[in-house]
């Protein structure tokens, strides 16, 4: 495998470059996926049937906690990638660890939030609005869950093999994924929660 030392490790081989480019294309597909969910959500937002409307069930406190936690985790993984680029394995692992812990916190609060919705009579089967709300949030939450395992496995590989072109490539791609989830959350926060609370 030819390694080009003029580039950061994650871009150092041809395969690495292709992996990163391929992942960007995948993120393009994910943008379409979430765009479709959002479009569907906006269509069904006011079709609440006999169920509650968004303003009746949304609670700002857990949502704010989720937002802060996820935005901070995105910053942490940025620090992790920076540590990786300057070759500091332990710092990188620490930042990745903090990222995943924050992600886990996010997931915990989201599970609380879902239980709250079930409690106040906004379950999956109540109306078109609750169905699409929980599906959209659930799709994002499922992405975060996958990300937690993925990040954990990458940390284990970095711990074992050190920062190599392969592990650097995987870590960088994972960071792209994590940032993307953050961007999706900003849209969820703005256009589902804040708009719904207005």
């Amino acid at each position: 495998m030819k390694i080009d030392n003029s580039l950061p490790l994650e871009y150092a081989t041809e395969q690495n470059k292709m992996n990163i480019f391929g992942f960007w294309v995948f993120i393009g597909a994910e943008v379409m996926l979430f765009a479709t969910l959002f479009a569907t959500y906006f269509t069904l937002e006011n079709r609440i049937g006999n169920g509650p409307a968004g303003a009746e069930i949304f609670e700002l406190t857990p949502v704010l906690i989720e937002t802060l936690v996820l935005l901070t985790s995105s910053f942490m993984i940025g620090l992790g990638i920076h540590a990786m680029r300057i070759g500091r394995k332990n710092a990188m692992l620490t930042f990745f660890g903090i990222t995943l812990l924050l992600g886990l916190t996010f997931l915990g609060v989201e599970i609380y939030e879902f239980m709250h919705y079930a409690h106040v009579g906004a379950g999956l089967q109540v109306s078109a609005f609750t169905g699409i709300l929980l599906t959209t949030l659930g799709t994002h939450g499922a992405h975060v869950t996958v990300g937690l395992f993925w990040g954990l496995f990458i940390m284990m590989q970095v711990k074992k093999k050190g920062i190599t072109p392969q592990t650097a490539n995987k870590s960088f791609i994972f960071s792209l994924y994590w940032h993307f989830l953050d961007v999706v959350w900003i849209f969820i926060f703005s256009f589902i929660y804040l708009k719904g609370l207005m």
Binding site: G22, V25, T36, R47, G49, F149, I154, M156, Q157
Partner: protein, 652 residues
């Protein structure tokens, strides 16, 4: 026993029991055959675990041909049922299932894999690459498609087939009106195959952008590669919409949400919108590679370079853009108001402009050319007038006010078969015949091929032209029978006769394969058609590494320039080549996907949860697996290339 009742067919008939027995016997025969000839190891090592784009292409091809006949039998049953008034060959339920599976099988499980078969085989060779960017993902794409297709096909004998049309409109497809598990099969099998297609889309975009031969600029790519690139871009942006539509449909059917229902705020028209936001680009996913194939074939057999290369590229880009802006013309009559209808009417008709440019470019390519009427060329020449009928009736349908007359009639059925069959099926048959010698090392018999062409071309027109008239007279599509007083009888009988002609044509194609395997010459060289692009500049059959030395090109028709102007493509010394290792993971993971889909179809939650975990475990295993591929040494390459390079040099 109550638990097992769910697997029974809701509307059994002797035909279904017969196909159950046939499926069982075929599977037993395959197992006995493989064991008797001791081919299990060969099957596993050479095919099930392969990551070679050429072999994956061939597997796509075989699956597509099998599905073509499965969908073709559905079509024949429909034509037979409607051949005479008040026919009782099929009952209404069975007819519903047959037209539904015909549509799904032909679009998703025949046309799509056929396109990916040719793309897989040809694109890496045309751009001078060793393989696709992610060979193992490519294998995963194929196996996901294959398992999706198998899941869909077993619906016939376990639990009942979907019966809500290939568009599966809600509320008809909802639990209230479609109580059997058929529509669950629809949602999950297409979902599994669709994930595979999306992965392919990403894979080919990266391959074409990053792995082209040195100096092959974007505007020096062969036209088929261009269409493959644009097609895969459409795939990446259209298939996620289908993913969500199917996800929401599955949620409605399995978990009781009310997204598409008629109650509690649900909106049934939302399904139609989501479906066609994917569905209309899907039409261009099918047709653009076909355009690419025609460009290659017409150029080769006219012995002229493609006329208007730049305008060809521009028009496919414009078509791909417009393809996302026309979906609403599928339901002009559903009352979304004159403004929307007008906008979508105009965008629909606008697509005729870039398509027309392409038609004229092909005609001008042939002008003053030395045309050889080989089988691929016959399909290409036949395509132009027939497809134009399809295109012109498309503009008729695109006029929103006039669409109230055509909507949901046989006129529409005639129109889209007039685009898809000459557009896609003819192109696939042309491409198949054209690239067959590269794939298998011998040519298909020309005489039988020409007979097949005439049966297909004439049979097609006899089948579908009468539908324009019955449609304008008011024969609705998807009606399982009609009374004699309607007067539709004679023209429907004519359609049935045409369908038999089509069937004979396809049977001749199969016979041609059998005949050519036995009788065709194996000594055909590497470039039997005197072609123009890079895929013909390597050995036949192609070595696993494709090209011993990476080709260097600076023209659209590198091989033609080599042959006519003596411009060398292969320079420098042979170096060792890095190749990926085979892997069983894509196959195993797809098998788990099959069980996952089957469990969800029948709401068996425990196996569904276990398989979900298993799927992610496979991905984790892949992440931890150490696999650096292997190298092919210079000596080995020289040994396999020796004979061929000497011959090739002498010929030039």
């Amino acid at each position: 026993m109550d638990y097992f009742d769910r697997f029974a067919i809701p509307h059994p008939s002797p035909a279904i029991y017969a196909s159950m027995v046939a499926i069982g016997l075929t599977m037993i025969a395959i197992v006995i055959g493989l064991t008797y000839f001791k081919k299990w190891g060969y099957l596993w090592d050479e095919w099930l675990t392969t990551v070679d784009h050429k072999r994956i292409g061939i597997m796509y091809l075989i699956s597509a041909l099998l599905m073509l006949f499965r969908g073709g039998v559905d079509a024949l049953m429909m034509r037979a049922q409607t051949a005479v008034p008040d026919n009782t060959l099929l009952d209404a339920q069975h007819y519903n299932e047959v037209f539904t599976t015909h549509g799904v099988v032909m679009i998703i499980f025949m046309a799509m894999p056929f396109i990916y078969a040719l793309m897989n085989f040809v694109v890496p060779l045309q751009i001078g690459a060793r393989d696709v960017a992610f060979p193992r993902l490519n294998a995963l794409s194929f196996w996901l498609f294959f398992m999706g297709a198998m899941l869909f096909n077993i619906s016939f004998v376990i639990g009942g087939s979907p019966d809500a049309g290939w568009t599966s409109y809600f509320p008809l497809a909802g639990n209230d009106f479609s109580q059997s598990v058929g529509t669950n099969y629809y949602m999950l099998s297409i979902q599994i195959a669709g994930i595979g297609t999306l992965i392919s889309g990403i894979n080919f975009i990266v391959t074409i952008f990053k792995m082209r031969a040195p100096n092959m600029k974007l505007m020096k790519m062969p036209m088929f590669t261009w269409t493959a690139l644009i097609t895969n871009a459409i795939v990446v942006f259209a298939f996620p919409v289908l993913t969500i539509a199917l996800l929401l449909g599955t949620m409605d059917r399995l978990f009781g949400t009310h997204i598409f229902s008629m109650t509690n705020g649900g909106m049934d028209m939302l399904w139609a919108n989501l479906f066609w936001v994917w569905g209309h680009p899907e039409v261009y996913i099918l047709i653009l590679p076909a355009f690419g194939i025609y460009s290659e074939v017409i150029s080769t057999f006219s012995r002229r370079n493609l006329y208007g290369y730049t305008s060809m590229v521009a028009s496919i880009v414009i078509i791909s853009f417009f393809s996302f802006l026309v979906w609403m013309h599928h339901f002009f009559t559903m009352g979304q108001g004159p403004l929307s209808n007008s906008i979508f009417s105009i965008t629909t008709m606008a697509i005729a402009i870039p398509t027309g440019i392409k038609i004229f470019n092909w005609l001008l390519t042939m002008r003053k050319g030395k045309i050889r009427f080989t089988v691929p060329m016959l399909y290409s020449v036949g395509f132009i007038p027939i497809f134009t009928i399809g295109g012109v009736t498309g503009v008729m349908l695109g006029m929103a006010s006039a669409d109230y007359q055509y909507h949901n009639t046989m006129f529409l059925v005639a129109h889209f078969h007039y685009t898809i069959i000459p557009g896609v099926v003819f192109a696939m048959l042309a491409g198949l015949t054209y690239w067959w010698p590269k794939m298998f090392g011998f040519m298909l018999n020309e005489r039988i091929g020409k007979w097949a062409f005439w049966f297909v071309a004439i049979g097609f027109n006899v089948t579908f032209f009468p539908m324009f008239f019955t449609g304008l007279d008011g024969q609705a599509r998807r009606m399982y029978t009609y009374s004699e007083a309607t007067g539709f009888g004679p023209l429907n009988m004519l359609s049935f006769v045409g369908a038999i002609g089509l069937a004979i044509g396809f049977a001749l194609i199969v016979y041609n394969v059998y005949y050519s395997v036995r009788h065709s010459s194996r000594d055909i060289g590497s470039d039997p058609w005197d072609a123009r692009t890079l895929e013909w500049a390597t050995q036949t059959p192609v070595q696993s590494y494709n090209f011993a030395r990476t080709p260097q090109v600076d023209s659209i028709e590198a091989l033609w320039d080599l042959k006519r102007k003596g411009k060398p493509i292969f320079k420098g010394d042979i170096e060792k080549i890095h190749m990926p290792n085979n892997s069983g993971m894509p196959f195993i993971m797809s098998c788990i996907f099959f069980v996952w889909g089957f469990s969800l179809v029948f709401s068996m939650w425990i196996p569904a949860i276990i398989t979900t975990i298993a799927i992610f475990a496979c991905m984790a295993y892949r992440s931890f697996e150490k696999d650096d591929g292997h190298y092919i040494s210079v000596e080995d390459i020289k040994a396999t290339e020796k004979d061929w390079e000497v011959l090739a040099d002498e010929n030039r």
